[in-house]
Point group: C2
Chain length 338, copies 2
DNA sequence: CTGAAAGCGCTTACAG
DNA sequence: CTGAAAGCGCTTACAG
């Protein structure tokens, strides 16, 4: 250990670099070590350090889809919360896929201080070796003993159903995400259940990946039939799907919201500035990341998040209905737009 | 080491688990070890292993913007090339920012087998300690001794200028990205230089972040003046900017391409399906990732990528002009659309 | 307050 | 072909 050339033992150096000097190292030695460290440009080797303490200081975030603006906000939240203490690293997988068990094992062999898992499938969780502190994100609909932070998407779906029914819609279509994450099932089922209560008919369904163009195409293909069925509103599983519908509606000269009401989930930035603005269920993405980061921090500090009841581990973040120009009563026709 | 209970030494186990048995371990012992390994569910500890060999098997990809569809393709390319051999991990930074020197030092202390750096600024590279194998991606316009893989964005810009001039445009506007990555400067300068050669006037410029809504807003604000100046085409630094222009043009009932031609850079998926389709310079993102992955692999294998000439380290991927419906001659008016 | 020593879990010459 | 041993760079009881 080069820095031992400060004239002290490696033990002392270690104490100083790790900030455990309180009542254990003299001020003079601290100064000496600090000087030597900066002179030599020394930097603690993460590998040796991690091996000695049994775990590294990295936190690995595992997610099926790194590249979408919604997830970017989640990451921001996590980073803001744990970024100073831990090194946050993203696992990279094929777009839309969770890592294979083999990859996870590799990840785990790095002895991360903790694991953050976003939108896992039930199978993924089942195959996950229970190793070390872990917090789940956005896992609505999946059973797990691990602490989790979720959105209350069902409540949002209910508000959406209330809103549309209140506007007088009686026949709606649902454009779902086909990525197979449980949260989408929860959204859809909650909406359909509540629509039924209001006597609102979910007359048709379609699904695509989370992609504007794919959604536009699916809507274009389905619309003739939906129109025949008397559909006056399209509820979309994500804002991205709604953008596709909005786009296609514009091309087809379908007045929104006069002829067709459109809604989404997420409240991505563009939903505010699109024309018309998109009525959507806001899911607080940044807050999700922050909350998950905080939970992990508590876990790492040795706190027991549990509590006796089963829900003690799970934090649920409220969702919120944001009403904008894309919804109005059915048949309000041209001129009502905006 | 638990697996030593296979009845052999730890050295033998290590030889087997790392696959270096060739002529060094008897078939019987290999079998014994394999059995013990699977019985115990043993998995080589990455920390100990990495420390012993001096470096880990992770490759860290550093990039300013993880969450955009273009970068997703780059990642895909990298993963496809090195994913089997190394553990690819993404560094997480504030959106649009490169990591700070302190973060990079932390990253480096994990002793990654290699580093991949996407779209770095000159300052970032200057501050980067020259540690270990590294390949730069998309670094057009930045000087560096490190091997790099770039797009020939200047050639694309030239083709674009040729195309617009050929269609008869004489006055155009340039909507740039303000993210400050050098590649955007290169695109713009190459375009402007070549426009001038054709006698085409770049009469106005504006810039926004890479965001549809921001671009739409900027265009909406600038258009009155641009129109007064006689602008008949808007050249955008990225496809995303062009989407904003396309959107705003539709709202303002500006016929594209009849009244206004619009172009982009990237060729994102949506550019093919938008209406009209977007004329753009295709930058082969996946191939960029693959090429960079391959370069790094060669570097890690100890190959010298150099060569005597300065360009020996740098691979340049060709760009390609994709002409779609968003460009036509000026003043072709309504009815010419598509 | 300080240093010598053991140990984290592996790999790799080395001697047999 | 095999095992005992040294060593990777740190941290942490432990004895002083």
């Amino acid at each position: 250990m080069v820095a031992a050339r400060a004239g002290v033992s490696t033990a002392t150096v270690s104490l100083v670099t790790s900030g455990k000097t309180a009542g254990r190292v003299s001020a003079g030695n601290i100064a000496k070590v600090d000087r030597a460290v900066s002179e030599l440009g020394y930097i603690v080797d993460g590998l040796g350090s991690s091996l000695a303490r049994g775990r590294s200081n990295i936190v690995i975030l595992v997610a099926p889809d790194v590249s979408n603006p919604f997830f970017a906000k989640v990451i921001d939240g996590v980073r803001g919360e744990i970024g100073d203490t831990f090194q946050l690293l993203l696992s990279v997988t094929e777009a839309g896929r969770m890592p294979t068990p083999a990859v996870v094992r590799n990840l785990l062999s790095l002895r991360p201080a903790g694991l953050l898992v976003d939108a896992p499938s039930a199978e993924f969780l089942a195959a996950l070796p229970a190793a070390g502190p872990m917090v789940l994100l956005d896992t609505a609909g999946v059973e797990s003993a691990a602490p989790a932070v979720n959105f209350d998407v069902a409540a949002g779906a209910v508000m959406l159903a209330d809103h549309l029914a209140g506007l007088g819609h009686t026949t709606v279509a649902y454009l779902d995400s086909t990525t197979g994450t449980e949260t989408f099932r929860v959204r859809r089922e909650a909406f359909c259940r509540h629509a039924r209560i209001h006597g609102m008919d979910v007359a048709a369904q379609a699904g695509t990946t989370i992609d504007v163009a794919a959604a536009a195409q699916a809507f274009a293909g389905a619309w003739p039939e939906w129109e025949r069925k008397g559909v006056t509103a399209v509820v979309c599983g994500t804002d991205t799907h709604a953008y596709g519908v909005l786009q296609e509606a514009r091309i087809a000269r379908l007045e929104v919201p006069g002829r067709l009401a459109v809604t989404g989930f997420d409240d991505l930035p563009y939903s505010e500035t699109s024309s018309p603005g998109l009525t959507t269920v806001r899911l607080p993405a940044t807050e999700l990341g922050r909350a998950a980061g905080r939970q992990l921090l508590r876990l790492l500090a040795g706190e027991d998040l549990g509590g006796a009841d089963a829900t003690g581990h799970t934090l649920t973040l409220g969702s919120e209905l944001v009403v904008r120009g894309s919804t109005a009563g059915p048949g309000t026709g041209p001129g009502q737009r905006r």
